[in-house]
């Protein structure tokens, strides 16, 4: 099989998605690399993925429930609500920061070999996804502990997970590009994640924002709808969820993804000149 390549300014456009598909094996191998590297040379290995959300949840429950005396939605155990929020938020936050750093972390590849650069942010998601599955497992164990029944809503869970992925990709790609150009953007990423943690309904229910003057601005954050929806899937109808918000959430996150993809594609060929 003979194949012809044409190289010219802006010439990689035509076959980009075909190239990406051709490199799916590389995507798989890069993902596998990230996962196996992560658990090598750590004292507790995979246990960290279990310990971290449990520790965060314990602190949250203690601070918000016993000290600040926050309440969750009626009929939902507060620790479960917190863990549920942490599960999806951690997935978002991990994938977002990994995508943001993916180009810089792989800079040795960027300057030495060619492959569609989108492979790097895509493969960096793997670690976050594995961690997500582990936290989800912990959550399911704890629901039996709290005698909280699972509802059929859970079948919608992949849809919300996909939306969270789209949103993290949308924000992450923009930061990934900026991070190559301006190194101090990297400093901003943990800050964004930290602020996001409080802005999003993780330790509290977004029903608190209902009928307030800021509600419509609050709902502009696509993660609000996603987290609420996620809680609704896992905790059942008692968890507060406004089904109408799903449309705006979906539209906002998809639009951000499309814009960031355009931006990424436009800038990816200049990465090597800035690294």
């Amino acid at each position: 099989m003979q194949h012809t390549t044409t190289i010219k300014a802006g010439g990689s456009e035509k076959d980009y998605w075909k190239d990406l598909w051709r490199n799916k094996q590389l995507l798989w191998i890069l993902s596998k690399r990230d996962i196996s590297v992560r658990y090598k040379q750590t004292l507790l290995g995979v246990a960290w993925s279990v310990l971290r959300p449990i520790m965060t949840m314990t602190v949250m429950v203690f601070v918000f429930s016993y000290v600040a005396k926050l309440k969750g939605d009626p009929g939902v155990p507060y620790p479960l609500m917190v863990l549920c929020g942490i599960t999806i938020w951690t997935f978002f936050a991990n994938t977002f920061s990994q995508i943001s750093n993916s180009i810089l972390i792989n800079s040795n590849l960027v300057s030495k070999v060619y492959f569609p650069r989108l492979l790097m942010p895509l493969s960096s998601v793997a670690v976050g996804f594995v961690d997500f599955l582990i936290t989800l497992g912990i959550f399911l164990v704890l629901t039996t502990f709290f005698h909280h029944p699972l509802s059929w809503n859970i079948i919608y869970l992949p849809a919300f997970l996909l939306l969270a992925f789209i949103t993290s990709m949308g924000f992450g790609l923009i930061f990934a590009v900026l991070n190559v150009r301006f190194r101090d953007i990297g400093q901003l990423i943990p800050f964004v994640v930290q602020v996001g943690f409080y802005v999003c309904p993780i330790a509290y229910s977004s029903s608190l924002a209902k009928d307030t003057w800021y509600e419509k601005y609050y709902n502009l954050n696509p993660m609000v709808g996603i987290i609420d929806g996620f809680k609704w899937c896992l905790l059942g109808d008692k968890a507060y969820f406004n089904p109408d918000s799903i449309y705006s959430t979906a539209i906002i996150s998809v639009v951000i993804l499309i814009l960031s993809l355009i931006y990424f594609r436009k800038k990816e060929n200049t990465f090597v000149d800035h690294i």
Partner: protein, 420 residues
Amino acid sequence: MSVITAENISKKYIIDHKHKAGGPSTFRDVVSDSIGKIFSRKPGHSEYTEKEEFWALKDVNFTIDQGDRIGIVGHNGAGKSTLLKILSRITEPSTGQIKIEGRVASLLEVGTGFHPELTGRENIYLNGAILGMNKSEIKQSFDAIVDFAGVEKFLDTPVKRYSSGMYVRLGFAIAAHLNPEILIVDEVLAVGDTEFQKKCLGKMRDVSESGRTLIFVSHNLTAIQALCNKSFYFEKGQLIDQGDTTHIVTNYLSKVSHKRMERHWDGIDQAPGNDQVRIKSFRLLAEYQDNLVHIDVRTPMNFQFEFWNMEEGASLNLSMHLYTFTGECIFNVGTESQQFGKGLVTGVCEIPGHFLNDGSYVVSMMIVKDTSTVVYNMEEALVFDIEDYRENVTWYGKWPGYIRPKLNFSIRQTEHLVND
């Protein structure tokens, strides 16, 4: 059949004079620059806006036929690496287009993407995939790779525990088992021990002999001459000459050296010197071998020095120092002291062929009175290069040492083992 056709390839970089070209900048810089611009009195001429275009490649045209082994020579910054980066699609040209027929593998670095925490085995799969092999191809050549690199004992050890030699061997072994129609190699032979370099060059020769196309950039002209049938010569981003490798290498060598092999002054008035002596000329006359116009390790050289003696009956001798380009003295030789009348005095020093190693050398000439007083010292008077030349050797690493004398050194069989 031509496999690569390049038309009017140019690559432009914008050099920002405030920052290092292309280097990372910070968001803070951009913000402070914009603020700087607002308050700057001469808009558009402030230090913040000084940008300059730099053409790393300019209007490069060439075709490469199937089975060609192309060597690329040129100074640092001549555009060689930029061309390789464009050919391997790491960066795009600013103008022009290149058509490539066939699968390209480029080896710009040994062990690209190796992860220190992963084992040798895992890194073979990782690096193979990065270089464009699919899983079945890697599986197929896995044993051959391990064998070539000689790391079977350490397959399950993280590569961070490898010696640098093992690391390089493994990296090259993977690349060597790629089966591309076109292989692009950049200066990878600079690393690794000599035994391994030999293996690498052998492997690259196999590649070219099997009818595949090779593009090879190296500062090692001996390796280029051994491997490549055609060469490109780049200077300041332009392809200034192409053709038969021997021709290109000779052309390149005659242009690159900063050598100064002859100095002379016509009259006593302009000549350097003092009341006692004036320099007339200093020349290096080389007995070139094989119609070459450069000096190689075989070439005998004559150093001819002429000066006017202005003092009747002075007792003078010459003293010549030979230095490496980095300033280490290799030797100092002197003539016997002798009385001279006023007039022209000539001294000749012969350096035989097969004596100095390849490299750049600097010569100083001293005129000494009464064997103790330096009358005049002509420092760094001549500069010359000696190129490498080897016969019946298949190793191309840098030959060690400042001198490379041909001594009587022989081996012979002195006893046969008898099988009984």
